[in-house]
């Protein structure tokens, strides 16, 4: 059907549409994509917790608090995540630490992500004017409340774009878990190719799945950005003389 002008039958050799359409809704691959997504979300969650912790620690005045966080960021950003994954899954058992495939993948990707997120979160917090912090302290907020109620919500707006990029990257990086036999999308693609031989068709299906995942995430990120910027965006609307009463009052900020 696409081989016009080519010798009879040659089109099928080049590209097999029916195979492509068969595999694009293959439950086997779809499950793989779901695993990739779940793995990315799990790793991101681990990364956010570690990243927040490391970001706060790196801003401490005390060297013994700052030091360990700096070493963490330095080590994990300075080595390939592929090497980290292999060390965790294949190397650590030598020391008697045996982790399953899923645990290794989650820890490997999550801890690596944390090192990058630490820098993103730290830059976001530093971008919040110092006066915001001082005003919160002056009305009697503890350090924790100041961070939670005043600083982090403002830092959040600043870090959504780079954090969104990080998650986009993570969904693709999660494919590296295939080397430690994690049955996510890429691994399942490879397994399928080994028995079906439709190399290009099946890998194209995998690529499209990744593209769909990152595209959907792109839409979600845009919504998040719009939500977090609502107090800033409204600055512009007033200049356009929108009556104050017409502005929706968010009820969650107090």
């Amino acid at each position: 059907m696409c081989g016009a002008g080519l010798p009879k039958g040659f089109g099928l050799v080049i590209w097999d549409w029916s195979a492509f359409f068969h595999y694009i809704h293959s439950p086997y691959l779809l499950t793989g994509a779901a695993v990739s997504l779940g793995l990315s979300i799990g790793a991101m969650a681990i990364g956010l917790v570690l990243g927040c912790g490391a970001a706060m620690m790196r801003m401490s005045e005390r060297p013994w608090v700052r030091g360990p966080a700096s070493v963490y960021v330095w080590l994990w950003r300075g080595t390939p995540v592929l090497v980290q994954l292999i060390i965790i899954y294949t190397g650590l058992p030598q020391l008697g630490i045996k982790l399953g495939v899923l645990a290794s993948a989650l820890i490997g990707l999550g801890v690596n992500e944390g090192a990058y997120l630490a820098e993103i979160i730290r830059s976001g917090i530093l971008a919040v004017p110092k006066g915001q912090f001082e005003a919160a302290r002056a009305i009697g907020m503890t350090w924790g409340k100041t961070m939670r109620i005043i600083v982090m919500p403002q830092a959040f707006r600043i870090i959504i774009p780079p954090m969104g990029n990080a998650f986009n990257g993570l969904m693709k990086t999660s494919s590296l878990a295939s080397v430690i036999s994690m049955e996510e999308l890429l691994r399942r693609t490879e397994l399928l190719v080994q028995v079906q031989f439709k190399v290009l068709e099946i890998f194209m299906v995998a690529a499209i799945y990744y593209l769909v995942l990152t595209t959907i995430w792109g839409f979600i990120q845009a919504r998040l950005e719009a939500y977090a910027s609502r107090s800033v965006a409204q600055d512009r609307t007033t200049r356009a003389a929108v009556p104050v009463a017409a502005i929706a009052v968010p009820t969650d900020a107090t």
Binding site: Q132, A135, T238, T254
Partner: protein
């Protein structure tokens, strides 16, 4: 009956790196008194104000606000350094207004004013909102409660900031150059709110360059330079017949043509 003392600072010293910013400052303020601190930039006025609520922690000396020794708690026969939570509790009684307003930029005016009562004092929402609306009306901004700081003028932002500080029902209000970053036409609206407050009996310590305001509102004026209080007295005495040569020079400078 002896007057009730709200502020009692003794021998306050503060360094920033090698710079000795406060060189043993003493201050006593009675309840209801309005004290204005004037003096050249870099003389330590703002730093001293910030040591009163421990935004800047003095290295030596003692600050007592409404009977509490700031940053310390009695423990047995001696004293211990207060935790972050303890110091935060002490600060609830001290309102502060900043030169740059520092309104929480992700919250509306109303949310800014409610923020302290709701999150710090755990006042029920409805009660905090009613009080916040009352305070916004008091500073003349009842119609701006749903505006974000970025939608307000400097003068309006500063009045919201005053309402935010008042929402904690403080014993003492500190003003750190509250009109210094305002356009001239907005200075009066902020000073008017401060005058109203002083007439209501609020105890206030104010760092400002507005000497005419000081003459009108202050019970006492302190002249501060090079980390020390050089001269203090009633507004008329300080402004019309300063004894110290430096005070005289400074006043001539800020009042212009004299």
């Amino acid at each position: 009956m002896p007057p009730e003392i709200v502020v009692e600072a003794r021998g306050v010293h503060k360094h920033f790196g090698q710079t000795h910013v406060l060189k043993g400052v003493d201050l006593t303020v009675e309840k209801g008194e309005v004290v204005v601190i004037i003096g050249p930039s870099g003389g330590g006025k703002s730093t001293f104000l910030r040591t009163l609520n421990f935004l800047d922690r003095p290295e030596s000396g003692e600050v007592r606000i409404a009977g509490m020794t700031m940053g310390q708690a009695p423990a047995g026969s001696g004293r211990i350094t207060l935790s972050d939570a303890g110091l935060s509790r002490q600060r609830q009684q001290i309102g502060m207004v900043f030169q740059q307003f520092n309104l929480f930029s992700h919250m509306t005016a109303l949310q800014n004013v409610m923020c302290g009562p709701v999150h710090v004092l755990r006042t029920p929402q409805a009660e905090a909102m009613a009080d916040a609306k009352r305070l916004l009306a008091l500073v003349g901004l009842a119609d701006k409660e749903n505006s974000y700081p970025g939608q307000l003028s400097g003068g309006q932002q500063q009045r919201v900031a005053i309402a935010r500080a008042l929402a904690m029902h403080p014993t003492l209000m500190l003003f750190d150059e509250p009109t210094s970053s305002l356009d001239p036409e907005m200075v009066a609206e902020v000073l008017q709110v401060m005058l109203d407050l002083s007439e209501r009996g609020m105890t206030m310590v104010i760092v400002t360059h507005e000497v005419q305001f000081a003459r009108r509102a202050a019970d006492r004026i302190l002249f501060m330079e090079d980390g020390r209080i050089i001269e203090e007295g009633r507004p008329a005495d300080i402004m019309d017949s300063p004894r110290n040569e430096r005070t005289k020079q400074f006043l001539n400078m800020v009042m212009g043509e004299l």
